[in-house]
């Protein structure tokens, strides 16, 4: 259907369906099919609007609103399950100078390229969000503390080697600084505290020269594989047939 012509609406104009449909069309979304004003049509419209208001317009990533909701859900889950969950916050290094030197359109290209690469670096269950101008965040549920560093480092390296085409004859590269912190396990906390801890590490990564990863050290001492083996092998090996 041509998105500029909407079916005639049999619903009160005060509900601003026209404007809702225009917003969807502007964002390049499909407008709801079926009888305008029918329950199915309304459901589709609401779903589309919810999705639209959860995404960052430029990159298509989760926006700050969606990120904060997800962070709240994850912190509650970890509080009771005790599963390790990692929050990474990322900031593009010297992004202002990209804008200053190459213009804002180039800056937008960089943001989009970084967003696409971030999505490629993580699991489908992870949430990647753009939470500020050049600031991104990734929520990684069930990420064991032994892997946090490796994941963040993989992201940093992928971006470091990513050429961004900003015009037909111009390619640039950028780097990111990454901070990370694990959700507090077995204790009720709130999202801002978690993000603050990740941001503190991000700040340290910036202060130590950028293009770096800093993850807050975990309070849980690492139990090495040898210790685990000694702990389980005889026990679960011989006596639990």
């Amino acid at each position: 259907m041509d998105s500029s012509t909407f079916p005639p609406l049999s619903v009160p104009p005060a509900l601003r369906f026209e404007q809702a449909l225009q917003l969807l069309a502007q964002a390049g979304r499909e407008v709801p099919k079926g009888q305008a004003g029918s329950p199915a049509w309304l459901q589709e419209l609401i779903d589309a609007l919810v999705d639209l208001s959860s995404r960052d317009a430029l990159t298509g990533l989760a926006n700050r609103r969606a990120f904060e909701l997800a962070l709240g859900r994850e912190i509650d889950r970890v509080a009771r399950s005790g599963e390790p969950a990692l929050l990474l916050t990322l900031d593009i290094d010297h992004f202002k100078s990209v804008n200053d030197q190459w213009g804002h359109a180039a800056g937008d290209h960089v943001l989009k390229a970084v967003a696409a690469t971030l999505l490629e670096c993580v699991r489908p269950m992870d949430l990647v969000a753009r939470i500020g101008g050049e600031e991104f965040a990734i929520i990684l549920p069930s990420c064991a503390s032994a892997f946090g560093e490796a994941v963040a480092e993989r992201v940093r390296r992928r971006l470091e080697h990513l050429p961004v085409t900003i015009s037909h004859d111009q390619r640039i590269t950028v780097t990111v600084s990454i901070g990370g912190a694990y959700a507090p396990q077995w204790v009720r906390s709130k999202p801002p505290l978690w993000q603050e801890r990740a941001d503190q590490q991000l700040y340290l990564a910036k202060a130590h020269g950028r293009n770096l990863v800093r993850i807050e050290p975990s309070a849980m001492p690492l139990v090495s594989n040898e210790e685990k083996r000694l702990l389980f092998d005889t026990y679960f090996g011989h006596d639990h047939e």
């Binding site: 509080a79 009771r80 005790g82 507090p184 396990q185 077995w186 204790v187 009720r188 906390s189 709130k190 505290l193 309070a219 849980m220 001492p221 139990v223 090495s224 040898e226 210790e227 685990k228 000694l230 702990l231 389980f232 005889t234 026990y235 679960f236 006596d239």
Partner: protein, 259 residues
């Protein structure tokens, strides 16, 4: 006062902790308290699971006055100490207080003052700590003369209990740690769990310390349908089914705790 005197508590205050959540820490604390109270002792259970307290749920008590009201100066400490069904007293934390999820100097002082104030009033204080080894948990454990770690015979619980023991030995100089093995599936499993943990501690923890860490098995609680039933009915096993195997085991543990 310029110097901090050593804690006078001795073995009067006992921290009940566990590496992993959901292993029955609060159940053990509450029923041990009932068993001790049955023996004529004045017992207080201090709910120090400040972020995710559920002693109130276990005991079916939902008071207006909790530790939070005491800490914020809205209530006096003595008004927050309540009688519990098992003949002991409780001081409840109240659930979901996010402001206590991280240790602050203020919280540190409050917790310490609290223990100092209640210690003269009771024969035993059982501190039901949060799970894990956050700084808040470690600090509340440090206020107790004795530590009791609740563990179940499964890999995640064993690993987390071991990590807890490791930290308590290194950071708090603990050399004697009590074990309660919960949900054992056959007699003698508690002894095996202790032996297994002791073996790894001997190999990987004690060598770095001035003296070896000794794990003491205080008892094993057999997996017991009566426990589940009591928990679901929000009753104290020790009160309603004192003849159940787990209740008998709890009484034996209480006996071992009293010198």
């Amino acid at each position: 006062m310029t110097s901090t005197p050593p804690r006078p508590s001795g073995h009067r205050t006992i921290a009940v902790t566990s590496g992993k959540g959901g292993v029955g820490k609060t159940f053990v604390a509450a029923n041990l308290a009932a068993a001790l109270a049955r023996g004529g002792r004045r017992v207080l259970v201090l709910d120090a699971d400040l972020g995710l307290a559920n002693l109130d749920v276990v005991l079916n008590l939902f008071p207006k006055v909790t530790l939070h009201e005491v800490f914020t100066g809205k209530s006096r400490l003595l008004d927050a100490i309540l009688p519990a069904p098992g003949g002991f007293s409780v001081l409840l934390a109240g659930s979901g207080l996010v402001e206590y999820s991280r240790m602050t100097p203020e919280l540190r002082d409050r917790l310490r003052q609290l223990i100092d104030e209640v210690e003269p009033l009771f024969d035993h204080i059982l501190v039901d700590t949060g799970a894990g080894i956050s700084d808040v948990v470690l600090y509340t454990v440090s206020l107790a003369g004795q530590v009791l770690v609740v563990v179940t015979p499964e890999p995640t619980s064993l690993t987390d209990a071991y990590a807890t023991i490791k930290v308590l030995a290194a950071a708090q100089g603990r050399r004697q740690i009590g074990l309660v093995v919960n949900q054992t599936r056959r007699p003698g499993e508690g002894r095996m769990v202790r032996q297994q943990l002791q073996q790894v501690v001997d190999r990987y923890v004690s060598p770095g310390l001035d003296s070896p860490v000794r794990l003491e098995l205080l008892g094993e609680l057999p997996a017991d349908p009566a426990v589940r039933e009591a928990v679901q009915r929000r009753e104290l096993l020790f009160e309603t089914m004192p003849g159940a195997p787990a209740a008998v085991a709890l009484a034996a543990i209480a006996g071992r705790l009293i010198p």
